[in-house]
Each structure stands twice: as structure tokens, then as C-alpha cells.
């Protein structure tokens, strides 16, 4: 009963979208507005002005730095919300948790006591882990020259942490991050943006402004790299923490 309505609604939505799409400039047309306005300037002057031969990184961190600052704030807020939803008021769930007769099994029951994880998987993950970390570092630090950057490297680092947690167990991976450091790492992206923004305000008078003077080029490059590393550390820590919280819930 619901399905025909949904199908007809989907088709109904398709009609105006297709009509609009048919009126767009042809796919790949060099004279389309997207290529003639601000993009042309980015492509022409982006490398000298933003200091990154990878224009995507340059546009993301330099021209549209405030955009990226808002974005890392969104990830951080998501982490806070996840923590709030999963830890606060969990006592209220206690009586409701097995009202349908389902008893939640703990982690210890789910695993075979004598074979925690296959030794082959254990070996291969431990073998690959350092190379993955090296690759993530390359992606982060080369983000302004080759494809990649803070977000990608952070996601790879976070994925590596998740894989290690699955294979080695929480007890082995939790100590990788000292409890004192953990909050700072989760906030690393936001804090780096604040710090670099303040440095930019000191140098240029504008928050998150990047110096364009040729003599300050090294400062600008350092600011870019600091932002990349901050985003990567923050992103990895936030993703890992979200995973740990969902897994432990």
C-alpha cells in the first residue's frame, strides 16, 4: 500500500529534476559558468596565492578556510552528540534492555575464550599496520602536492585504529592514546584552526588570513601543513572514538 505511493512520488520528483538537467550546459563544456567565474582565477593564480600545487587543498584550506573550520566543528559536535546519546541516561535503558526476552551478550561471551582472533588475521594486520600508518603520514604531509590531505589521511588513520581494535582487542589499543592526551586529540582539528587563525590574524589582520608576501612564504606553508596535521589527528581521533563508543554501547 505504501510502495505504490513511494514509487509514484519518486517518479514525480524525477520529472522536474530531469527537466532541469536537460537545460544545463552540456557535460564537460569549457564555456559553462562553473569554469569561467571563480574557478578560472583559482586555476590561474591558485598556486602562487594559496601555496599548494594541489588546488583542492589550496581552495579548501586557504581560500575557503572558514568553510573547513566549520566542517571540523561539525565533526567534533557529532562526537559530542554521540557521547551524549550513548552515555547519558543509560540507566534508563537498564530495565528496558531485555523486555523482549533478549539477553544482551557481553563481549566475553561472544568470543571463543581459547581462540580470540585467527592467528593469520592477527599476523597480517600487524604486518600491514606500520605500512598503513606510513601511507597515512605520506597522504597527510603531501596533501598540498599530491591528491590527499588531512581528511583522507585522518580517515585512513581512523580506519587503521578500528582494524587494530577489532583484531587486538580494546585492551591493547586503548593505551595507544594516553587518557591525558585523548581530549586534546579529539579537539585537535578545532584547536589547530583556532591557533592558525590567530596566527593569521596577527600577521594579516584577518582571522584565518594567509600572508601573501613572498618573504613570508615559509610561514604560509607551515600554516598549511599545521592545518593538515591538525585535521588528520582530530579526524582520526573523532572517528576512532565514535567507533569505540558505538562498539561498547
Amino acid at each position: 500500500m505504501r510502495r505504490p505511493i513511494a514509487i509514484s512520488l519518486a517518479f514525480l520528483a524525477a520529472v522536474p529534476l530531469l527537466a532541469g538537467v536537460a537545460g544545463l550546459p552540456v557535460h564537460g563544456d569549457p564555456s559553462a559558468p562553473v569554469h569561467t567565474h571563480v574557478s578560472a582565477r583559482y586555476i590561474e593564480h591558485g598556486v602562487e596565492e594559496a601555496g599548494a600545487s594541489n588546488l583542492v587543498t589550496g581552495v579548501l584550506l586557504n581560500y575557503r578556510g572558514l568553510d573547513a573550520a566549520g566542517e571540523v566543528t561539525v565533526i567534533f559536535t557529532a562526537l559530542i552528540a554521540v557521547l551524549a546519546v550513548l552515555t547519558v541516561a543509560s540507566t534508563r535503558d537498564a530495565d528496558a534492555s531485555n523486555h523482549d526476552g533478549r539477553v544482551r551478550r557481553s563481549d566475553a561471551d561472544r568470543r571463543h575464550p581459547d581462540h580470540p582472533v585467527s592467528p593469520i588475521v592477527h599476523f597480517v594486520v600487524r604486518l600491514i599496520a606500520p605500512f598503513t600508518a606510513l601511507y597515512a603520514a605520506y597522504v597527510i604531509l603531501h596533501g598540498h602536492v599530491t591528491p590527499g590531505g588531512g581528511f583522507q589521511g585522518g580517515a585512513i588513520l581512523g580506519g587503521l585504529f578500528i582494524a587494530l581494535t577489532m583484531v587486538l582487542g580494546k585492551e591493547r589499543t586503548r593505551p595507544l592514546v594516553r587518557p591525558v592526551l585523548a581530549p586534546w586529540m579529539q579537539g585537535a582539528a578545532v584547536l589547530t584552526f583556532a591557533a592558525v587563525g590567530a596566527v593569521g590574524a596577527l600577521l594579516t589582520g584577518v582571522y584565518l588570513g594567509f600572508p601573501v608576501d613572498p618573504s613570508l612564504r615559509i610561514v604560509r606553508d607551515l600554516m598549511l601543513i599545521a592545518l593538515e596535521v591538525g585535521i588528520a589527528l582530530g579526524g582520526a581521533a573523532v572517528l576512532a572514538m565514535i567507533f569505540l563508543q558505538m562498539e561498547a554501547s
Partner: protein, 117 residues
């Protein structure tokens, strides 16, 4: 009109994906399934925005020594980069809420939840 659609086949594919996602969101009862549908809609929009920035015989917008144009527009790529990361945050939050709903009510089917009111 049809030839215009044929030349813009990337855009048409995005529209089709968007509508499939819309169908899943409307028709399915399971909250996780609804969220898979919403993710499909998101990626369809991303594919559309990327397709807007494509240029004929374009190179990636990375200015190394011997690279020569035409370059794809970097602006849509930046926007999508931001979008993907925000999308994963919203997905994480939504799944967390779904886990909480399941722990509280023992079901994640939308109509059963509505009856519990």
C-alpha cells in the same frame, strides 16, 4: 530534449540515484534501511556536483611541473570533500540514535515505533 539528456548522462544517472534513495527513504520501514537510502541520496548529490565541475579532456587540478590544462574545476571538488566528511558525521550520529531507540523500545521499525506512542 532526449539528445540533451543523452549528452548529460552523468546528470541523469545522479537524478536516477537520487530518486532510488528517495524511494527507499519513503517506502522502507526499517530505520537503518531508511538511512542507507538517505546515504544514496547524499552520494547522488555529490556525484551531480562533481559532474558539474568536469571539463572535456580535463586533468585533475594538481599543478605539478609538467601538468597542462584544461583542468577540472577545483571548487565543486572542495565542496564535495566537505560534504562527504559532514555526511559521515551525520551518519554516525543517526546510527547512534538508532541504537538508543533499539535499546529503549526493542524495535527499529518505524510503524511499530509509532504504535508505541
Amino acid at each position: 530534449m532526449l539528445t540533451a539528456l543523452w549528452h548529460n548522462i552523468d546528470y541523469v544517472a545522479s537524478v536516477v540515484l537520487f530518486c532510488i534513495g528517495l524511494y527507499v527513504v519513503i517506502a522502507k520501514n526499517n530505520l537503518i534501511k531508511k538511512f542507507l537510502g538517505l546515504n544514496i541520496m547524499e552520494t547522488a548529490v555529490f556525484a551531480f556536483i562533481i559532474a558539474l565541475g568536469v571539463i572535456e579532456d580535463g586533468q585533475p587540478p594538481i599543478m605539478t611541473g609538467d601538468a597542462h590544462g584544461p583542468f577540472a574545476s577545483p571548487l565543486p571538488q572542495t565542496l564535495v570533500l566537505t560534504g562527504i566528511v559532514v555526511a559521515v558525521s551525520t551518519t554516525a550520529l543517526a546510527l547512534t540514535l538508532i541504537i538508543r531507540v533499539y535499546r529503549r523500545f526493542g524495535t527499529i521499525e518505524a510503524d511499530e515505533l509509532r504504535e508505541l506512542e
